[in-house]
């Protein structure tokens, strides 16, 4: 078993700022290079089936969901083994244990979990766009505990299925996972990125100056990456929507959700929303 605890997990419910953070991170770790949104170096994607195949030697497309789940920790062991230093791995799954009681992300290679949280009212708007579905269906989905991603978002061939669960379950699963977790609010990254991301970077033990972090933020500004997506597309975008990066705003639900829709989300997720002042 690998004993090296070198994986920093970038965990989030979809549309909570995870991808943007990866772009920022790529800018920070590769200061000499221009940002290319289709080459996010130094970050892995836990549902990348090619990574699964490298890690296990098996064809993901021939395995059933329970088999994939029981073998997924091999991906973490593989990444941890091939990377000598700290490495970042994006995950949209809720934290859970498989039928043998093994966690989906192993403790022995985990350094820390960065958990990105966003107001579910804004997620509903953004996720509906991402899935190309109407908001009411997405609100239902955000409240269902058996939710699987990837099989429905147009990228069946490129992603492994992920057990996401409801939004509330997702948040709770990570907070009670037993891993060390730093919670990062989307709204804080949006409102004062320098201050809030500097804190995170320092907590990870990196020695970047504020000026270096500022430069990385400039390179990864939402306007710039949206512009780049327009020019060259984004490989992680579902095929049936126009753009992955949409508005990147806070409180857009105020103009895009009906009162009834707001009430439904608030009813489903009252406890967690209250806990995080949403």
């Amino acid at each position: 078993m690998s004993e090296t605890k070198n994986i920093v997990w970038l965990a989030s419910y979809p549309k909570s700022g995870n991808t943007w953070f990866r772009i920022f991170l790529t800018a920070l770790l590769n200061p000499e290079e221009a940002i290319n949104i289709n080459k996010l170096n130094k970050t892995y994607h836990y549902s990348d089936h090619n990574l699964f195949e490298l890690a296990t030697g098996l064809n993901a497309s021939e395995l059933q969901e329970d088999e994939l789940n029981s073998l997924k920790p091999n991906i973490a062991n593989y990444i941890s083994g091939i990377e000598k230093n700290t490495v970042f791995v994006k995950i949209h799954e809720a934290f859970h244990r498989n039928s043998e009681g093994k966690p989906n992300i192993p403790f022995q290679c985990t350094k820390i979990v960065l958990y990105f949280i966003r107001n579910p009212l804004d997620i509903a708007v953004s996720f509906a766009h991402h899935l190309n579905k109407n908001v009411d269906d997405v609100i239902d989905r955000m409240g269902e505990s058996s939710t699987l991603a990837s099989l429905e978002n147009g990228s069946e061939f490129f992603n492994l299925p992920e057990r996401i669960g409801s939004w509330s379950e997702h948040v709770e699963s990570w907070l009670s996972s037993g891993h060390e977790v730093i919670v990062i609010k989307y709204e804080d990254m949006h409102n004062d990125p320098l201050k809030n991301l500097s804190k995170v970077i320092k907590a990870l033990g990196f020695k970047y100056t504020n000026s270096e972090i500022y430069d990385a933020l400039e390179k990864s500004s939402f306007v710039k990456i949206k512009d780049q997506e327009k020019k060259q597309n984004f490989n992680e975008k579902p095929s049936d929507i126009d753009s992955f990066f949409r508005k990147g705003k806070v409180n857009s639900y105020k103009t895009e959700l009906s009162k009834q829709q707001i009430n439904r989300i608030s009813f489903f997720h009252k406890d967690i929303m209250t806990k995080f002042n949403y």
Binding site: S2, L54, G57, E62, L63, N233, K237, S239, D240
Partner: protein, 308 residues
């Protein structure tokens, strides 16, 4: 050696005796003394020497071991034996698929044959290969070309053997595997026979093209790489020199097995030889496919290999 094997096949120019049925493989009655590979139930080790990580696949010189929790272990050794040490809860559909691709690939690696992750058709008495990662569209592209009348040669694995200085593609067996939702892209459904699912809960099917199956080894003329790099316009891009060698090494099938087997040198030499005589091109395409766009892609590739 036990000789009462119930099944005998010829795939990739290998005579195979098997205790278990390998649906889709071409059945063959060959003289006993010409058997080259044996698939049998037996004892496999729990781990290979020198292994320290709890991995699914392990390899050492002349041995590859798959360890599948709940199913059992499968040992592939010396380029001749695939030994299944199974548990009572084994799912045979999983093991059959594993034997047909990853275990056969291990046999090839152990025999120092080249194995690329790709599919192939015949044009002008030569083989045209389509390489790509899983999900890139290799099988769909190949199926669409068989619907246009090209003979089918291989799906998923392209096995290459150096025959007196010429790299020859070995014929597989007349069966493709396609996701259910790719059938709409292929045009005329009458040009295929949809058979059973590869596994009960997976929407991927064995498909038999109506086009002829070419069952002799062939020289290779073209290699197209179905890139996961999306562009505004559909186009082909030449891949030259060291980049083409890198690409072939990148698309070596089950290359994780090679670290223990020590087979990188063999692949390197074989692909260097292959690249002396063939052209490699990357297929760049926009994200998202519908039937019209897909057929345009097929026409672009077809015109290209017919022109040269």
């Amino acid at each position: 050696m036990k000789t009462d094997f119930k099944y005998s096949y010829n795939v990739y120019s290998l005579n195979i005796y098997s205790e278990i049925e390998l649906v889709g493989f071409t059945e063959s009655n060959f003289p006993k003394e010409t058997a080259m590979v044996y698939v049998l139930r037996g004892k496999a080790p729990k781990s290979l020497d020198g292994d320290v990580i709890d991995t699914v696949v392990q390899s050492s010189k002349n041995q590859v071991l798959f360890r599948l929790p709940g199913h059992g272990n499968v040992l592939i050794k010396n380029g001749t034996h695939i030994i299944i040490d199974h548990q009572p809860s084994i799912d045979w559909s999983l093991i059959r698929n594993l034997i047909k691709n990853k275990c056969i690939a291990a046999i090839m690696h152990q025999r120092s044959w080249g194995v690329l992750h790709g599919s192939a058709i015949k044009s002008k008495d030569k083989a045209v290969l389509f390489l790509g990662r899983s999900g890139a569209g290799k099988s769909t592209t190949t199926a669409a070309l068989t619907a246009r009348g090209y003979d089918f040669i291989s799906d998923d694995l392209c096995v290459i053997k150096n025959q007196e200085g010429i790299c020859m593609l070995q014929p597989a067996y007349p069966s493709l595997r396609l996701w259910e939702n790719t059938f709409d892209l292929l045009g005329d459904a009458k040009k295929f026979t949809k058979e059973k699912k590869i596994r009960p809960n997976i929407n991927k099917y064995y498909v038999k093209p109506k086009a002829a199956f070419h069952n002799k080894q062939l020289e290779i003329s073209h290699i197209y790489i179905l890139a996961e790099q999306y562009t505004e316009e559909l186009r082909l891009e030449k891949v030259n020199g060291i980049e083409s060698l890198k690409a072939l090494l990148e698309f070596t099938y089950a290359k994780g097995q090679l670290s223990g087997l020590g087979g990188f040198d063999t692949q390197f030499k074989l692909f260097s030889l292959l690249l002396k005589t063939i052209k490699v091109k990357k297929v760049l395409r926009p994200l998202g496919q519908d039937s019209d766009r897909f057929q345009n892609l097929i026409s672009l590739i077809e015109n290209d290999f017919l022109d040269e």
